[in-house]
Symmetry: D2
Subunit: 386 residues, 4 copies
């Protein structure tokens, strides 16, 4: 998957300064396949902090900004200005930042969830639709080869008609009131103003929801949610139980939690149809279990017999040499690069190039909004906003 001779795409970044987490992940992901070169950034709204972060990264100080609108404006004018920007701020800043770049035709690679609230998500969709630029949402778990394999198998009918989807994403890092101890990540992720009305359901439930749809191809019809904030004083949910009804009759369950001791990032998806079942777990991402009904379960692995074209396309190294989180994340960057290169050539994005879109992002925010709405009403069935 290494770059083949076409030159690196010039990348900027908004957010991701010294005390951030996801910014560094995006940078490693962007570097791995050598498709991008980070050349500009607005790492903080405080000039000194932004410059310090830019200096850490070896950037030209002239291209380190403390205002993203200013960055968008000036980069758009540069002959060798950025072609794409990674938005890695807290959720509530995604839209204000992205809009500045979109309206100047700079491609946006945006962290999830799309926005903190539904109205902004709709505006993001409009902004993206009005723009010539591409919009890539980093639901990074969709970059894992064996997730691609699962999607391909479902689409090929190997499970038959789908009946049941079980998806869960438990963590334990918010079991105690970490947000009161000065931990930045915990602070903003439990602050409705920055994170949105969903806590666990917004932060990780959206990943689970996206993964389920990405693999199954199913569309949500209605849901019934029971959200809890178990930790005293917490302003957003830290545990979410959701029943799902999909168009066509399949049923599902989704569980997200940040108060389940012993769970790190235990995202797990199981899909069952009338011909077979699949099971995949993020913490062992190189394996996909396939159980054709009436036959012994098979352990499919990345890079080996049983892994098809969709997985092979995004596989870097041989079977048994585990690829991990960064590689899956990098795949989205490499997909973004392929899309951007096609776009630059005036060609459509090739069908095998797959990444989560702004529409997926809107669906995710609508999902969170529906969960909160259902739960606020006592756990009734609701439909997500169209």
């Amino acid at each position: 998957m290494e770059r083949q001779n076409a030159g690196r795409i010039r990348l900027g970044m908004v957010g991701g300064g010294r005390d951030a987490f996801i910014g560094g992940v995006h940078r490693m992901a962007a570097r791995l396949d050598d498709q991008f070169e980070l050349v500009a950034g607005c790492f903080s709204a405080t000039a000194e902090k932004s410059q310090a972060s830019g200096a850490d990264l070896g950037l030209d100080p002239d291209r380190v900004y403390d205002d993203f609108a200013d960055m968008a404006q000036r980069e758009a004018r540069l002959k060798q200005g950025i072609e794409a920007v990674a938005i890695v701020t807290p959720n509530h800043m995604h839209y204000p930042a992205a809009r500045e770049f979109l309206k100047r035709g700079i491609h946006v690679i945006c962290d999830k969830p799309l926005t903190a609230a539904l109205p902004e998500a709709k505006r993001m969709l409009q902004a993206a639709q009005r723009s010539e630029a591409l919009f890539i949402l980093t639901h990074n778990y969709s970059g894992y080869p064996m997730v691609r394999q699962a999607r391909e198998m479902v689409a090929a009918g190997e499970l038959g008609q789908l009946r049941v989807v079980q998806v869960e994403y438990p963590q334990d890092w918010l079991t105690e009131a970490l947000e009161t101890t000065g931990a930045k990540q915990a602070e903003w992720r439990t602050d409705p103003a920055r994170s949105g009305a969903g806590g666990s359901i917004g932060d990780i439930g959206t990943h689970a929801y996206h993964l389920a749809g990405f693999v199954s191809g199913l569309q949500l019809e209605a849901l019934c949610a029971d959200l809890q904030s178990f930790v005293p004083g917490r302003r957003v949910d830290d545990n979410a139980h959701v029943l799902l009804r999909y168009v066509g009759g399949a049923r599902g369950m989704l569980w997200s939690s940040q108060v389940a001791p012993g769970n790190e990032n235990a995202l797990r998806l199981r899909v069952y149809g009338d011909k077979g079942g699949l099971s995949w777990a993020q913490e062992e991402p190189n394996t996909l279990w396939h159980s054709p009904f009436g036959e012994p379960p098979r352990r499919l692995t990345r890079g080996n017999a049983g892994a098809g074209a969709a997985a092979a396309r995004v596989t870097r190294i041989p079977a048994g040499h585990p690829e991990g989180y960064l590689e899956g994340f990098a795949t989205l960057y490499t997909e973004a690069a392929a899309a951007i290169r096609a776009h630059a050539a005036g060609a459509p994005v090739p069908p095998e190039v797959i990444y989560p879109t702004v529409e997926d992002g809107l669906a995710g925010v609508a999902f969170v909004e529906a969960c909160v709405r259902s739960s606020d009403r006592g756990g009734v069935w609701v439909k997500p906003a169209a």
Copy 2:
């Protein structure tokens, strides 16, 4: 756990003839610790079939019956008549059979669920309360040593205050319409007249529900259920999704399914509190995962360091030599024997002797009834009948 010198308890059986499944399990379980001797049975309502089954088992033909009321009557009059009876018929026969023995003071060991319908379950409770005899319900998973260990740890506060209970019991054997092929087990288990209004939720969901309560000690307050019959023509649910609200604020999810390819008897329980989590799976029953919050997860095993008194009491062989389903089932028989011997001595059942009761059985049937009621109304929150 072998018998120590007190003589075997004389046991009868109702049901469990040649083409049954659970009858043989009960017999093996009753034999393992040598506490019981099967001496009489009504294995079928057809005389020849009952006699043939009795002959297979080496019983005296005079004590093989084709009518359970007759059996109860005659055994009650014998000097060396049965002291206890195992009821292993389809669900709808549990009450009619048990009542005959209870009213004659013969202890009843009854398979689950207690009855096919709620009114009968209430009558069973009354019959048991009116009787001097003991009533043991074989929710056999409560006999596994590491389930006892989990219960003991929760009770000792090792998880702190409980917050979340995730329990599931998926199978795959009814993925297709097996009940139309002449398979006896599938026939009666999908027949509402014999099995009850619950399909998967009655057959295995009750096990999951009981296990969750047995370990957590939590009481159900309300539930919201979405039941499906995915297989065309099936008259009972084959997949059940249930949200749980426990008294005191804990929340739970329960999933039972008989249409999830790749799952055999994948009963799994996870319980989380503010100090730690536990995870146990029936297919690897000798292991219990304990994750104290902020410490590495520990793999506790039957018979080894970390397993306490409650597990040790029901452990037969050393760590690493797996005990399985029959041993767990046998433990309930051995608990029953301990209770019966205490009863015979006019003593109370010792507190360490633990088995599911008729009250547990009523709660299980009320749970099933509530699930069906909730789902029939479109998936609303309901309270189980008291």
Copy 3:
């Protein structure tokens, strides 16, 4: 696998008194399928201890002995005397005890290893060959259904020509000098006079060696062993490393250890041929991994698709309801019963009835002797005595 009407076989026991371990296992195993009834025993050479043990078990005091030769003599004369005897003493007593019963035509079910030393093992072979009675050696792991499955698959050529056998049996219970603390099991198992010259290699290495041969069908040609006694003062090996050369060119490695912390009874066998591989672990005995070369690995489970006739024959309960150590052990008793019944009818033992023989036992003792000999000479290649 329950008894079908033929009456129980009368069983005696030598050894297995109150402070023993394996005696209780034999009794549970003998009971499970209801083929045997324990009616006599010599549980100790001390009369009071033997009587106390017999009383625990509800035996007629007249049939509880303190001298096995006396027991053999008297039982042989009884009209309803024992038909078979289980020998569950320390190793050095196997031969003296077994010989008394063999010469009186009483079938012997003997714990492993066959004897403490090679000369006795040869005498045991002769005694068994001279006797009309059957001899069954309880290498109990050969009773697990998925071990039978593995054996059947190898025999059917599913692995092609065998190349490599990896077998290991690590434990940790002798990591410290437990034998100096009064622990009976540790005492005799580390005492060369009672256990034999092999420590771990005799106690558990023989199980591993037997299992490898049972499944692979390969014959040992030569071995090279490096035995160690890591615990100061220990008189027998507590760790054994052995290289194996099989007739026909396959190669193997065998590791036994009683000083490997974290291992309970981690017997594991892997067999590789030019068409595929198999892997089985005693602590998860219901699963067998099959990896046909160039295809995804398959998880075969007891009672489910992929398990063939040999496994089905010794399976009691459905897939996903784990059978464990006692069930596998019980299978050897049930095989013994089938053989004894055939013998009583003057018929040959049916070919599907499989149990380890006195010849297997001799091979095991010869293996231990060869390991000790090889190691004593500095780790040279030696051939086991024919």
Copy 4:
């Protein structure tokens, strides 16, 4: 672990052209933490192929060579010439290539094994010792965080005195005669002239051997090896069984195989001492099992409670987000960068910076030579050349 402001180190590469495997791995590893920039290469001895590969990678054609000596000479003269070179050719070219750079003071990052044969390995040691430049050998498994954790725990005495080391590295990709089908990787790796006299033992056995020593800190005293070429016509071993005796009395077993169906890169290390055991497997690299004797086993994970300073130092992302093979490999590059920067500053390499050295490489080649020598003599105990 991202670069902090110091500028990238200029890197060249020898080998790693279009049809290679490990070259791409080195490039991704070098990029991940942004410490290196690839600026020159001799990707093939054929000018066109080298240029084509260089063009793929976006290199300046003037800095793409077809002769490594020429490359070394010219780069050494450039003001902005390479500071380090990655040698990723087949084994027999490691020394001829490395020597050219070493003698010009260019740091060498060399793939394993050090050389194809022992005499060359000794010359490599001399060349490295005579050079001012650093020498880093990419036994990449030593870069995994939980391998660092294991090493740190052993060094801290958490296992007590070591007794037993079990290490294995089975694969299956050479189960058939792949080298006769035109597969480049199989061709050179089974060609003694390019790979060395060891087949599996040289290609992967050296990894296993290095890992065992890296974690345990033990020194090999003697070994006894039984090597086989199971595939007809194969000129090197494809399966190796080795007994190990370490200085101080610990014992070990090493198994490498390329004909074990179902194994991908199943490198696994287990180390046991008198206080506890550790187990680590390359295919689940984020987990380390720690079994303190007499306590429940603990599952230590990268980035979480129980992982200490040595692991934390080389950890990029949070627990539960798996790091894989490339990240472990990248760690060696980042260690190399730290060493190179210290060297450039005239400072010693900091003690926490850890990478395999030329001495480790010589020990590895001596190990292979000793295995071949032992096996050729029929499997006798030999000492590796000092």
